[in-house]
Structures are given as C-alpha cells and as structure tokens.
Symmetry: C2
C-alpha cells in the first residue's frame, strides 16, 4: 500500500522525456498548480473526458491499456479541432492504492504522452470507484480551429480510417478474446487519436468532429451546429477489416453507424479541397473516404430504416 503523495511522485509525475525547453512548462507537478507558457498568437484548445471502469473500459482490461485509452479519448477531441496537443492533467480515482496497477497504468499513459509530445503537468489521486479524468490542452493559430458549425451545402462528407472498430472490439472482448494485437481489440482498447490528420486538415475541412458517440449521432451534431442536412452513402462506409466476419453484416453496419468509440475524424470539405485533403492524409498512410454529401435542409437521409441512432449516457444500457 502506498500513500497519495508517493503514488503521485513515483508514477504520475511529469515524464522528463516530455519536459524539454520546448515544452512550455515553467513549473510542472509538485506545487498547487502548474505554470505553462502559451505560444504567442495561439488559441488554447481545451477538453476533458472521464473514463469509468465497467462503463468506458472493462474492469479486467490491462492497466497500461486503460492509461493509453484514457488519454487517447481526450486527445481525440484536440484532433477534431486540428490542434497541436501540448499539456495534460489527470485526475485518478482508485478504490485502493494498488501500486502495481498504477505503475502499469502509468506506463501506458506516459508512452502515449511521449508519442504525441504531450506533457503531464499535474493532477490528483483520490479514493473512489476506479475512474480517470484527463484534461488536455493544445494550441492552434487563432481562428484556424476546425469547428462543428462550418459545414456548407455542396460539401463532401468524409471520414478518416475505418469505422466499427470500437463496437466490434468490445464485442470481441465480451466474447472472451484478449489478444490486443488483434485489430478489432486494438481499435477498441488502444485507439489512436488522429492528431496529425486533424492538423493536416486545418485550412481544408469546413467542419470536423471525432466519432465517439457513433457516426449518426456525431454527424447529427455537425448538422445541427451548421444548420444543414446530409445524405449518407451507406455502401461507401469504410469498415474495419474483419468486422463483418466477426459480427455478421447487420451488426457490422450497426457498429459503424451507431457503435461509437471509433475516434476517427468525420469531416466536411468543399469538393475542390477533398482530393487535396486525401493526398495529405495519404502521406501519413491514412485513408480519407467520401461517405456522403451535405445539402440544405436538416437531418440525415440514406439511413437504413432500422438503424440505431447512437449512444448517450443515461439513455442506453452500459456499453
């Protein structure tokens, strides 16, 4: 058993590898608050996401995967704004001070910090149901952020990568599969926030959102914010390889439309920008697939008649 301060000092302190002179960290963890130097002419981009055991990740998930995932889902929000991630704070609740679990958790969290050049600059640890809340802070040149409200009639509707991995991986986990090197499980427990893609889409996309609640729900947010409608071309949806084999055709389509937790970027672009954006993402080996188009009106056309509409806390079952 460890005390709070020892846990924080040993496992949750800033990682020296991310604390260089370019980090903008004037004072890291260890005081009442951290001190950060924002870049001149930059807007701050800030978001928070909480992951609760048994709801957002399985109780028996490897601790390092929980650490990765908790940070990844927060970073995905910065990706959807086109921001460069810079700093994060973590609030960790644990039923007991299980040092071995925290050490593994920390390993996954810090590995993603290093991979995405994010510095952990503070946080707290408390007793409670196991949960992780991660606040991420990024930067972007003022006025350049990708928002939800910029979709225009005539825009192409497109998505990065492939859909259905979140729900497909969860189904495989629930079926007893545990090998995180399998693609579906990796997409569910080890999502890769599309940070570089988001930054490459700045100046090209008219609107962006990450697919966390499910494609239909997240598209709905963009349409509502932009005051437009969309037609989906369901046959064009890029499904994660192996999804249909694992779930069957109906459930695979449901996973892609309403499963959520895919952490791909759903974007709208003027037709003349689409090819340019597709080439830019090809440079990082990421597909950008047209899945429909934006038009005047409201709502989504082209949805199969019996499709679910996505995920909301309190209104559905546990995932």
């Amino acid at each position: 058993m460890h005390g709070e301060f020892e846990l924080i000092t040993r496992w949750l302190a800033p990682d020296a590898a991310t604390l260089g002179p370019q980090s903008g960290v004037a004072l890291g963890a260890g005081d009442d608050a951290c001190l950060l130097d924002p870049g001149a002419g930059q807007q701050l981009v800030v978001s928070v996401d909480t992951s609760v055991e048994g709801r957002h990740f399985p109780a028996d998930a490897p601790a390092w995967a929980v650490g990765h995932r908790a940070l990844a889902v927060s970073l995905s929000d910065l990706a959807a704004m086109g921001a460069r991630p810079r700093w994060c704070l973590m609030s960790l609740a644990l039923p007991t001070a299980d040092g071995a679990w925290v050490a593994e958790f920390s390993r996954g969290f810090h590995a993603l910090c290093r991979a995405t050049d994010v510095c952990l600059t503070g946080g707290d640890v408390t007793t409670g149901e196991r949960a992780v809340s991660v606040t991420v802070m990024g930067e972007i040149a003022a006025g350049q952020a990708l928002r939800r409200d910029g979709a225009r009639p005539g825009d192409v509707l497109a998505v990065t990568g492939a859909l259905g991995g979140g729900a497909g991986g969860l189904a495989r986990w629930q079926a007893g599969e545990r090998d995180l090197e399998r693609e579906l499980l990796a997409r569910y427990l080890l999502p890769q926030p599309r940070l570089v893609a988001g930054q490459l889409l700045v100046g090209k996309a008219t609107a962006a959102i990450d697919v966390s609640d499910g494609l239909l729900a997240d598209l709905g947010h963009v349409l509502d914010a932009s005051g437009v409608g969309a037609t989906l071309d369901v046959e064009c949806l890029p499904l994660v390889p192996g999804l249909t084999d694992a779930l069957g055709e109906t459930a695979a389509l449901d996973a892609a439309l309403a499963g959520g937790d895919d952490y791909e970027l759903l974007v709208t672009l003027a037709p003349e920008s689409f090819d340019e954006a597709r080439r830019a993402l090809a440079s990082i080996d990421l597909e950008l697939t047209q899945i429909g188009h934006i038009h005047e009106g409201q709502g989504i056309q082209g949805i199969p008649p019996d499709a679910r509409r996505g995920w909301q806390h309190f209104s559905g079952g546990t995932p």
Copy 2:
C-alpha cells in the same frame, strides 16, 4: 430522467453572465473542445481537483453546496499561486440523470463562477459514483506566481483568516447540524477561496500554499520544497470563532493543525513585507496572522507532542 446532451445543454453550459467580450472565450461548450484566448505576457496556471461523494462531501449535502465546494477547492489552488482565475471545465459523474439534483448543483457552481469571474467552458457528464472533477485555469504575469519553494530563513510564517473550520464543520455535520448559515458548517461546506488575497500577496510573499491537507502537512510541503525548517508558535494559531466551544480545546487544536479543508493561505514573507501584506489584506477585511518563522534546517519545531500530522488519501480513514 434526462439524456446526457440535455443535462449539459440545460445546466452545464457556460453562463452568459460570465461570457462577455473580456472573457477570452472564443468558443465555449458545444464543440469537441473550447477555444480560449490567453492574455499576452501571461503564464497559464492550471490545476484539477476531484470531489467524491462520501469522501469529500457528505451524500446528504445540499446539491448547491456540492457545486460551490467542488469549484471552490480547485480555485483555492489558483489563489495559492496568486493567479487571476479565468476558465474552468467540469467532469461530472452521476449514478442516475437526476435533473433536480443537477439543477441545484449547477446553481451553486454557477453562482461561484459569477462571484469569481470564472467562465465554465466545457466538461462532460457520465454515469458513475457521484463525483465532480474541476479543472481551473488562471493567469498571472510571467514569473510572478507564488510557489512553494521560495521560503527563506528569517521569513515570517503567516496564515490568512482562521483555521480549524474544515474539521470543525465536518464534526458539526456529523453531529447532525444542518444550518449552513452557522460559521463552522459554512467553512466546511462553503469554503471561500482566497483569490483576491493571493493576488494581493504577489510580490510580497516568498512562498504560498493553501491549507487543504492540514496546516502541518501543507507547511511540510513548503519546507521540503524550499529546503528550510520552521518553528510554529501554536498559541498564535487563529482558530475559527466557536471552534473550541464546539470541539473542546484538544480537538480544536488538532483541527487547526491537522484537520485540513480550511482553504486559507499559508505564506512566508520577509519581515519587512509582513506589515505591508497585513495592511493589504486588511483592505479586504481579511486577517493575516504570524504563526511562526522560517529558519535553516528542516522539519517543524513547536508541535505539541501528540499532534496528528495531516491527511493523505489511502493512509487515513475517510474524513
């Protein structure tokens, strides 16, 4: 029952009263992340604190007090740095979507936002054990923040306001008292972050910390960070009025030394700055009391032999 999006839209959206042109909020809640405009030449001061039901606040505390307290304890960290608070994000976990509770909670939270000129710019809501995690962001001129590591031999050790209210109020609550207009209960459930005091102490105090873990524990953090020792003058400790009557002399002293949750500022100052600081705080009707002095060496002298040493999660009982 309400859905997640409806709860966020109705109760947890930014308050228009805090969203003026001076707020620095380029884009508030409703997108993947918020967009903030930091001030030129300012450092960001960021902290997060989580409050869990049954551990940091009683399950039967009024929801509006829970909202006030969750924000107040985070703001107290900004006060201890001397920062001007600007923005916050909230992550709220709830076992059920109890709209009436959230409405009351929100009322207390937003009232303190308005009183301290803080704008709520984002957050999330999830199912889980009831808990609130609040990330606060403030600003201070670069290099001016009050840190823990600046105490020097010869400094005066002083504390704002009065001590023991956190533990004293908890004891009254546990004894069945419920009138939040009573001073001890108010200090426990409705702490007032010493934000203006912290800003007035910039340029005067050599080190500062807020009294959250307990005077001895928090003083220990300052001494460790500064590489100095201190002698306490226990007879000078300013106790909250009524504390000794409520708890008895021994428990009252214990509350002041080790109870925690007082959210006063513990500061060190050169002797020639102490009177100036005291006059500055008198202008906002706040006492600044010398309770000891800093010297070479390490550790705390002058502690009564049987005093407890403060609060750590995982190493003590629940408060």
